[in-house]
């Protein structure tokens, strides 16, 4: 694969994680659901890759698959590789993978309360992570925990380290999670909806924090979210997923300026924005809708999964699945009508 000089990826370090052709399925009463169906991407040091899509599109399962956290059964990682350096995470035995997790690749989740242990102090939990990976002394690990809490902007870190998760506010809990995730300075941080449960002012603080720490530590970040605003502000490159498949990928400016997949265009058009008013645009606007609902994964059509909701769909879309193809350097989409989509966008004056 040519990795040199792709637009939008220059200025970042080497590729640290490369996922190729990942397939993860779940057994359900209605049949086997392909939750992730042939997803590939890479992320470089210092880069933030945004993964966006709606519920059930497979964005979280992708992350869990990489970390070996897919509950099995009913889940099963069927195929693919996830290269971290020269090791394939998907092929590592659980014991080895446990050493990698938290150490070289860490994850933060949407709801920190469910991922922190309620009966252990916050400081102890961070210190445990540190000790698990560097084998240092307990007091040393505790000092590191306080240092990390301080780094993520928790006031009175010394005191907070001795408190239990329920004594912290939601924003502080998420900061503590970030402190824990970054305590071993991982090469890759996977953040799954890290701010969805937070208020908007706290969300801004947490996103700023992730960005700042990334700049300082050179971490590669995979940011999973449904929020296009968060993507626009935080991601350098974006992968759009629909029904377990990658439907579009581009650098963030290109994706918002010239989306090629009708689903991406639909998503962008359906979000209300504050800008319209601030820029003095006309008052009454109707939001663009994407008709219908996300299909069930057990009953996907033969062709393009988005075809039943797509304004451009024709017979070919219904019968044959479009390949994920490069439309122009650094910009790929899986759509038979990617060119038409571009024309339509131009006509609509976007």
């Amino acid at each position: 694969m040519d990795q040199a000089g792709t637009p939008g990826t220059s200025g970042f370090g080497d590729v640290v994680l490369e996922v190729d052709d990942l397939v993860t399925t779940f057994r359900t009463p209605d049949g086997v659901a392909p939750a992730v169906d042939g997803v590939s991407f890479e992320v470089r040091a210092g880069e933030t890759l945004g993964v966006v899509g709606e519920s059930g599109c497979g964005k979280s399962v992708t992350a869990l698959s990489i970390l070996g956290l897919v509950p099995s059964p009913p889940g099963c990682v069927e195929r693919g590789t996830a290269l971290l350096g020269d090791r394939d995470l998907l092929a590592l035995p659980e014991r080895t993978l446990a050493d990698v997790r938290g150490n070289e690749i860490a994850m933060i989740f949407q709801e920190p309360m469910t991922s922190l242990n309620p009966v252990l102090t916050v400081g102890y939990q961070i210190a445990e992570t540190v000790r698990r990976h560097d084998g240092g002394t307990r007091p040393g690990a505790m000092r590191r925990a306080v240092e990390m809490l301080d780094l993520v902007g928790i006031p009175e870190a010394q005191r907070r380290a001795r408190e239990y998760p329920h004594q912290l506010s939601g924003g502080m809990r998420q900061r503590a999670m970030i402190a824990m995730a970054l305590s071993c300075e991982p090469k890759v941080l996977i953040a799954d909806e890290p701010t969805t449960a937070l208020d908007v002012t706290i969300q801004a603080q947490v996103l700023d924090l992730i960005r700042e720490l990334q700049g300082r530590l050179g971490t590669a970040v995979i940011l999973i979210t449904h929020d296009l605003g968060v993507i626009a502000e935080t991601a350098h490159r974006v992968v759009v997923m629909y029904a377990g498949r990658k439907v579009e990928e581009a650098d963030v400016t290109t994706l918002f300026d010239a989306p090629r997949h009708p689903y991406t265009r639909g998503l962008l058009a359906s979000v209300p924005t504050l800008d319209a008013l601030r820029d003095g645009a006309a008052g009454e606007r109707r939001l663009a809708e994407i008709p219908g609902v996300v299909p069930k994964l057990t009953g996907l059509p033969d062709g393009c999964a988005f075809a039943p909701r797509c304004p451009l769909a024709d017979g070919r879309c219904a019968s044959t699945r479009p390949a994920f193809e490069e439309q122009r350097p650094g910009h790929s989409a899986a759509c038979w009508h990617a060119h038409t989509a571009r024309e339509a966008a131009r006509e609509a004056g976007q």
Binding site: E54, S55, P155, S169, G170, G171, M172, D199, V200, T201, I202, Q203, A204, Q205, L207, D208, H226, D227, L228, G229, V230, I231, A232, E233, T234, V252, T253, F256, D257, G266, L267, L268, S270, V271, P272, T273, L274, D275, L277, R278, G280, G283, R285, R286, L287, A288, E289, I290, P291, V293, V294
Partner: protein, 329 residues
């Protein structure tokens, strides 16, 4: 027992004056003294016919409590609530009943607010039965009408809630709220749990229904872009009080309260080219039990001066229809 519905008059649909709702938090075994949560602390506003008032603020600011108290699902501690000109603040259940028909609520979570053992048709028609509005046959006809109006198929009437998607469940909740032809609907975070593409469908539906039936909405949400889209006027709440109130155009173009400013700045904008100047507030919202003295926002305010620490700013009108509670603006 059927009470005749009060007529829709010419005045405001809802007038709320000096509304307070306090909760006493129980004393815990080893915990601190019993505290009083000032969930809603002197809130006043009106909503006209065909108007949407957006109520925004972060978790714990009291916006949902306002909605529930207005509907008399909670007993107000103080203040008055007038619905269509009549004081309903202290009406007891029987006297309140005809007014209940006039006001409905749509909840955030369409998964937990619908009885899983009732069919969709029974859910949508339940209130018609409770209020003895119609015979069984009439009811069936009315439910079918409601279904097609909110975008559900008539053949789904016999289905159970779990057979619907999130967006469809929210449509069902809307059908139920509409069944008694209310004047006012309190929408409590009605689209927050929905996917982006579905959110747009429901917002459009709510706006269409307002135009068609002349509904008034009290639209409670934390998503400022959604509130901006659907509201005519917007009130911003912080720790139980309204800190700014204005026409939506005015509020979003010319925010005056430092809290409103930082809220607007914090909203991520789906435009990667936009360079933002951020005035992000520090820290968390203080506890509503132990609120800061003076202006409640002074602990997080970048502009706070000595006066803000001691003196509580009144909500005053600084431009026609634009009210703000800040010493500095």
């Amino acid at each position: 027992m059927t009470g005749a519905a009060p007529p829709a008059g010419v005045g405001p649909v809802l007038e709320v004056d000096g509304l307070r709702k306090y909760f006493v938090s129980p004393r815990r075994l080893l915990g601190p003294q019993a505290g009083v949560v000032h969930a809603v602390d002197g809130v006043s506003f009106t909503i006209e016919a065909r108007e949407t008032l957006g109520l925004v603020g972060e978790s714990g600011c009291g916006k949902s409590t306002v909605g529930r108290t207005v509907l008399r699902l909670l007993k107000p501690t103080d203040g008055t609530i007038r619905l269509l000109g009549d004081d309903i603040t202290r009406l007891e259940s029987r006297a309140l009943r005809p007014y209940r028909r006039r006001m409905q609520i749509i909840f955030q979570d369409p998964y937990s607010s619908l009885d899983p053992r009732m069919t969709a048709g029974d859910i949508a028609g339940e209130l018609l039965g409770v209020h003895g509005v119609s015979s069984r046959a009439e009811r069936h006809e009315r439910v079918a009408e409601l279904f097609s109006r909110v975008g559900l198929r008539r053949d789904q009437i016999g289905n159970y809630p779990h057979e619907f998607s999130g967006g469809q469940r929210q449509r069902l909740g809307i059908a139920r709220a509409l069944s008694l032809q209310p004047s006012l609907i309190v929408c409590d975070e009605p689209v927050s749990a929905l996917d982006v593409s579905i959110q747009a469908q429901v917002i459009n539906l709510l706006m269409d229904l307002q135009a068609e039936y002349g509904l008034s909405y009290l639209f409670i949400a934390h998503d400022l872009a959604v509130v901006e889209h659907i509201s005519h006027r917007v009130a911003v709440m912080y720790l139980g009080r309204i800190v700014e109130f204005a026409d939506k155009r005015e509020l979003f173009a010319n925010p005056l309260h430092p809290y409103t400013e930082s809220l607007l700045d914090a909203v991520p904008v789906p435009d990667p080219r936009r360079v933002r100047r951020r005035r992000i507030v520090r820290g968390d919202v203080p506890s509503p039990i132990d609120r800061p003295s003076g202006c409640h926002f002074h602990t997080r305010c970048p502009y706070a001066v000595e006066r803000c620490r001691h003196e509580d700013p009144a909500l005053r009108e600084v431009a026609p229809g634009h009210r703000v509670a800040c010493h500095l603006r």
